[in-house]
Symmetry: C2
Subunit: 307 residues, 2 copies
């Protein structure tokens, strides 16, 4: 049987990697598919910490399906084509497992598509193991729970669904970890910002959205000290403007998220500051503004910009 590649979005976060690894394993057991979990970019520090902790190899980074001789793929943790593999338009999509809005996604044939408005794609993958009565190996439970912790900021994000907690608790038993202790270590592993250049920071967890026919880039960095990141504002803005020019983004929005207090500062560069102010009912001062209680790009940034 031909190989099917399974991968999360570009600029993978822990959920993109974990959901691909988890669903690839499940699809082998349940649907008898010849799957391989791969990645569309380097794993970040948090993901590397989780993979190392549970003794899982880093997935291979691939550039296109064609260069792998593959014509069928499975997408996890995304569906929008501009966030996917470069040659997505030429491929068969066997299936999708996701927890984001659906947009810029189209197929010629019916397919497997599973999306739920829950905290992470890995929560859905974990539930599917249960539904299909497939046993979850310890290391798979470990990487899935890492993704749930990462996406929900240890259940503090408003994207958290009540089922995420119960699923995480059952995964914690299989993975043999203490949820809170491991969770805090994992989140801290992701906050090593000082070692990164401004260009790296704004690309660490960045996604492109088509909003009112404009291409808008929204990036997020987690921190325990917003002001520390803001000391680098000037160079960050320069880097954001270069990205806009090189990629045709109308706007670049950087969310600097305080994961301890669950707030974000947004720093913006682009053409539509007035619309951004209106969308969040704030006044930008020196191109940035504080958004109280905002930590979720998906739930608290993108829908507001869509209207």
């Amino acid at each position: 049987m031909s190989k099917i590649l399974v991968f999360g979005h570009q600029n993978p976060d822990t959920d993109a990697i974990a959901s691909a690894i988890g669903f690839s394993y499940l699809a082998k057991q349940k649907f008898n598919l010849n799957t391989e979990a791969v990645s569309l970019g380097q794993s970040n520090e948090e993901t590397k910490y989780a993979l190392a902790f549970f003794n899982i190899e880093l997935p291979r980074v691939i550039k296109s399906a064609a260069s792998e001789g593959v014509d069928t793929v499975i997408l996890t943790d995304h569906n929008e084509f501009q966030q996917s593999i470069s040659d997505i338009n030429e491929l068969n999509i066997w299936g999708v497992v996701d927890h984001h809005r659906i947009a810029n996604f189209t197929t010629a044939n019916p397919l497997f598509f599973r999306s739920e408005p829950v905290g992470s794609s890995s929560s859905i993958v974990a539930r599917m193991f249960k539904e299909n009565q497939v046993e979850i190996p310890k290391e798979i439970a470990g990487i899935l729970i890492s993704a749930i912790i990462s996406d929900t900021l240890l259940f503090k994000s408003p994207t958290t669904h009540k089922t995420d907690q119960t699923i995480a608790q059952s995964l914690a038993k299989i993975a043999k970890i203490d949820l809170k202790t491991y969770g805090l270590s994992l989140l801290k592993a992701g906050i090593n910002l000082t070692s990164k250049s401004e260009k790296e920071l704004i690309n660490l967890d960045a996604k492109t959205f088509l909003l009112n026919e404009k291409s808008v880039r929204v990036a997020q960095v987690n921190t325990v000290d917003i002001n520390e990141v803001l000391t680098r504002q000037e160079i960050l803005e320069k880097a954001m403007k270069i990205e806009n020019e090189q990629n045709g983004y109308s706007d670049f929005i950087l969310m600097i998220t305080d994961i301890l207090n669950s707030n974000s500062e947004i720093l913006v560069a682009g053409e539509n500051n007035d619309k951004i102010e209106a969308a969040f009912d704030v006044k930008l001062k020196n191109n940035h503004a504080f958004l109280k209680g905002v930590v979720s790009r998906k739930k608290q940034i993108i829908p507001q910009l869509t209207i």
Copy 2:
């Protein structure tokens, strides 16, 4: 809690009605939603037969969500906006259960979306009862199994998935019917073509598709005698041309499907006969052609026209 309307596509077939009734019931039990199953058009003869057989009331026909004072909906058996309720662009979509290609569908927020490439949306709904350990009442089992029979032409269509048969067998037990006896009666109830005008025939089960930016109408009628339908060709063609003019379709394709021998004759009216000939590798004679083994619009007509 505000009411949520649940409905299948325009020109509802049995699966559109059954999946809405089934999922509406399940959503009440499982997600505690205040749902009502409704319909975007009159039920056809086959559906009426099934509803009467299992003693279920015909769902109300509605025109728009706004006129019902409702802002949130659930779609079953379709996702493409042009096949949905008139004001779909202004509504919140809570969820979708479907088994078709995904296209012309977009949301601002994450949602529940469940699609599988199986024979009918009602198969998926039936499986979800099981997954969520909700008991299926006799009449719901009856309408769900009717939809599976209808969509798979009693398991003869190439859209049939192996799980459709096992699900149908377990539903048959709950509904207390003999699958084959009831199935043939149901399919025959849908083939009362002589009593229908040509205009009614071409609208009985018709859907609009955006193919290469053109609006194409594809209708299907089931029969046990293709030639009997073709005796009405002249008036059928006139009616198809009027539909094209009034609705801006570039092409109208009528599938006349022989459900006993599993073949179709297509009768076409429009601008792109050459492309239709190329897509199916046939020569149209007097605007019609025989497609051996073709019975599924979804699997054997639309993908071929998409390339």
